[in-house]
């Protein structure tokens, strides 16, 4: 991993990988959407509305994954003093916030026909909303400070403090009486969902993951270039 911490090597590798990742994203989305919207069966209770699951659930998974990635990258940047790790953390935040927002909105659209309410204050929904606020707070602290190194350290602390929310989100449906569906895929007893729905769900999850990686690498490349521009401007101003 140390070898890839060099920004120049990162730019070279990510530049080479991005076209392939973009193609893979499109292919996986095409296959996943076909499986989800055409092949998978309607639910015996929910009918066709169940197909929102294939958009909502992977978005929620990626929202959690992005925060975990942000926290780990922040910790690595804080402990090992790697600017590229700080770049990775900073770039993951807006993408993760968008996935969280998507999960909340699609969940709301699903909740209206199913539960009769656009929003309820149960444990899962509240903790995911808190996750969204944590993302916003993280982005706010990056914006509040001028110097990238200092902003990186403070933002790292914010990200690491907020990671306590992730197990709360995961186990909220077990710990509290929740309207939200309890865990059906990542359980100790194995998935409780039939394979005709599980396979499209996993393909969509893979599509979302590759989309995240593509967007994340793009954002990281932009941030590296932004920092180079800033350094050049500073040198010109003082030199």
């Amino acid at each position: 991993m140390q070898r890839y911490a060099n920004p120049t090597r990162f730019m070279a590798l990510s530049g080479a990988a991005l076209p392939w990742l973009a193609v893979a994203t499109v292919v996986l989305f095409a296959v996943g959407l076909y499986l989800a919207l055409v092949v998978s069966p309607p639910d015996y209770q929910q009918g066709e509305t169940v197909r929102i699951m294939f958009v909502h659930v992977p978005a929620a998974w990626l929202a959690l994954f992005a925060y975990l990635l942000m926290a780990i990258a922040s910790a690595v940047g804080l402990v090992f003093r790697r600017p590229l790790a700080d770049v990775a953390a900073k770039s993951a935040a807006p993408i993760g916030a968008c996935f969280t927002f998507l999960a909340l909105v699609t969940g709301s659209l699903w909740g209206k026909p199913m539960w009769g309410a656009w929003w309820v204050w149960d444990a899962r929904l509240t903790s995911v909303l808190i996750l969204f606020l944590l993302y916003l707070g993280y982005m706010a602290i990056w914006q509040a400070l001028e110097e990238p190194q200092r902003a990186a350290r403070l933002a790292a602390i914010v990200a690491i403090v907020g990671v306590v929310n992730l197990p709360i989100i995961k186990f909220s449906v077990d710990w509290w009486n929740s309207l939200h569906q309890p865990a059906s895929v990542l359980r100790l007893d194995g998935p409780s969902i039939h394979h005709t729905m599980l396979v499209p769900l996993l393909v969509m999850a893979a599509a979302y993951m590759v989309l995240f990686v593509t967007l994340h690498l793009l954002a990281m490349r932009s941030e590296v270039l932004r920092r180079r521009v800033r350094s050049t401007v500073l040198v010109q101003a003082t030199g």
């Binding site: 808190i130 707070g137 509040a144 200092r150 350290r153 403070l154 602390i157 914010v158 403090v161 907020g162």
Partner: protein
Amino acid sequence: MKPLRALLARELAIAWRQGGGIGRAVGYYLVVVVLLPLGIGPDQALLAQLAPGALWAVLLLAVLLSADRILQADHEQGALELMLLSPVPLELTILCKALAHWLTTGLPLALAAPLLGFLLNLQPDAFGPLVVSTVIGTPALSLLGALGAALTLGVRRGGLLISVLILPLYVPVLVFGTGATAAAVSGSGAFVPSLLILLALTLAAILLAPVAAAAAVRAHYR
């Protein structure tokens, strides 16, 4: 122990002499609690239902808005940098400052909550549980406020930024504080468990918030 006691005495003296530290926080609490029934309407039954949650929520805001004075004055005068260099660990210093903040802001607000409950037609059997829950929960609020103060040291107009960063972390305290009060009133048996979880949150904050806050202060001065 002596340096910590001296620091605590200093913090309490400054808070006392700074004129209006306690008064300002309780005054803010009073004014906002007065606004609520004026906005919601005089329906007594509705106010009685809203009272525990409203009292807790405004308490959170009052603690948070006064949190940046934990570190701001020392940061501006350079005393915080000296505290960084002292043999006393910065974590203990911040813990001490947060304790002083709790004694001069959090605890008075916690004790004022039931008095303001009269304005909101708080149910009689909710008074005692409310006070117990606020007294147990406010140390966590002061400690997280200290963390917020450390993160936003020297940021211009950092008041809103502190709120955006720290209010999400206040949510568990709010949920279990109001839950304890509601459970005591309804007799559902969740009162003591909620109080225990509140106590756990405070203890966790005592352990973890000073560490994070000290890291943030060091990041500012690096």
